[in-house]
Amino acid sequence: MVRKVLLATLALALFPVAVAAAGDSPQEARHDLMEDVGGAAKTIGKMLKEEAPFDAAQAMEALQVWADAAEPFGTLFPEGSETGYDTEARSTIWTDRAGFEEALAAFKEKADAAVAANPQTLAELQPAAGPVFKTCKACHESYRVDD
């Protein structure tokens, strides 16, 4: 009996954690996806800054994360998800949908090109990844709330 109560209590205590980790809401799902994109940016950025050794396989994996993220990311901003969960999405995403889609398409295009370039050296990674980084910055400027 005591054991059952303990287990039930534990289950209840963990329940909100499990829900949060699942990322059911679009706000959480896009946040998690953006974390992945940011993680890939860090992998590549550290190589470009020469803080990490160049590794072609790791670089390609990170570029692929970028290329794969754009399409699902675009589906995660439905009407009604403008606020909540401390989202940093700016209202301009909904008021200027075409501009947002265009910014996302630019990200996808540059990320696809970077994957196609298949960089095998640090010197090749720079021109492949550089344009993608620019699209990160441009999109954040218009469509993300400033801290």
Binding site: G38, A41, K42, G45, K49, F133, C136, K137, H140, E141, R144, D146, D147
Partner: protein, 288 residues
């Protein structure tokens, strides 16, 4: 008795008039140096002129502050709407002393408290670069300020408290830190946003670069001292890389009003950005 009061009142008024008087540079004190507009372009970017005056310098940007709304002026070489025809001494008085050609004080929303530390050569080169711009006839609205801030003469007193050419970081031991100090404290006027202000709008140099609320009331300009809760975890290389590319060590991107600033600083040299980083590592750490 009444006579004494009247005399006292006159004396007080006279003292106030003298204390608030604009202090200008005499044209004969302007050194005769050859102007280099190419170097002036560097000064222009380091000084962030376009961030407020606009890429074409025709002005109009609104600056909302706790004191009122400032409309940034047209500084193209247009003779009526801009600053066309200004002498070097007039330009120097605006930049270094905050005084217009008509002898009126400028509001310190224009960061002459920082520019006052700039060299004559940089000032002269900057004017030569500004003179290359297309004149614009764009007329900018007047500032919207309530009493007492609309009394410009009062700025004379304010300047006695806050306008001086002393370095905030008095001890700069290496040439690189000195270079960074010049870029941060003079041209870049970083402290204007990143340092908290006292109730009269003067910079609280005891909390130099420790972060401050955005003047418009949304968000904060962060603490950029080497405090553990500020840039303590950033290497000098991280700072320089951020200023060049706009990416933080976590590879998040620059945001807000810093975007313009970062893009200006991206036009400087690697050595300039490294000097700014060295300076930011040398200032005293202050908790946010």
């Amino acid at each position: 008795m009444l006579k004494k009061i009247v005399i006292l009142a006159v004396l007080v008024a006279l003292a106030a008039w003298l204390a608030t008087r604009p202090r200008t540079i005499d044209p004969s004190d302007v050194p005769d140096l050859a102007a280099d507009p190419v170097h002036g372009e560097w000064v222009f970017h380091a000084g962030g002129c376009a961030s407020c005056h606009g890429a074409d310098l025709s002005g109009g940007h609104e600056m909302t502050t706790p004191f009122g709304v400032f409309h940034v002026p047209n500084i193209t070489p247009h003779p009526q709407a801009g600053i066309g025809g200004w002498t070097l001494a007039e330009f120097a008085n605006a930049m270094l002393r905050g005084v217009g050609p008509d002898g009126r004080h400028y509001y310190p929303a224009f960061p002459y408290t920082a520019y006052t530390r700039m060299t004559w050569q940089d000032l002269i080169d900057l004017k030569a670069w500004l003179d290359t711009f297309e004149p614009s006839a764009h007329r900018v609205a007047r500032h919207e300020l309530p009493f007492p801030w609309n009394v410009r003469r009062g700025i004379g007193l304010w300047k006695r408290l806050y306008l001086n050419t002393d370095w905030v970081l008095a001890e700069a031991t290496t040439a690189e830190v000195q270079r960074g100090r010049y870029l941060v404290e003079a041209l870049g006027h970083c402290g204007e946003c990143h340092t908290p202000r006292d109730r009269f709008g003067g910079l609280d140099t005891a909390a130099w670069l420790a972060g401050a609320p955005e003047p418009a009331g949304e968000g904060r300009a962060p603490d950029i001292t080497p405090h553990a809760a500020a840039l303590g975890g950033w290497s000098a290389r991280d700072i320089a890389y951020y200023l060049e590319t706009g990416f933080t060590p976590e590879f998040d991107t620059v945001g807000g009003s810093m975007v313009d600033v970062q893009e200006n600083l991206a036009r400087l040299t690697d050595a300039d950005r490294a000097a700014i980083a060295a300076y930011l590592k040398a200032v005293p750490p202050v908790a946010p």
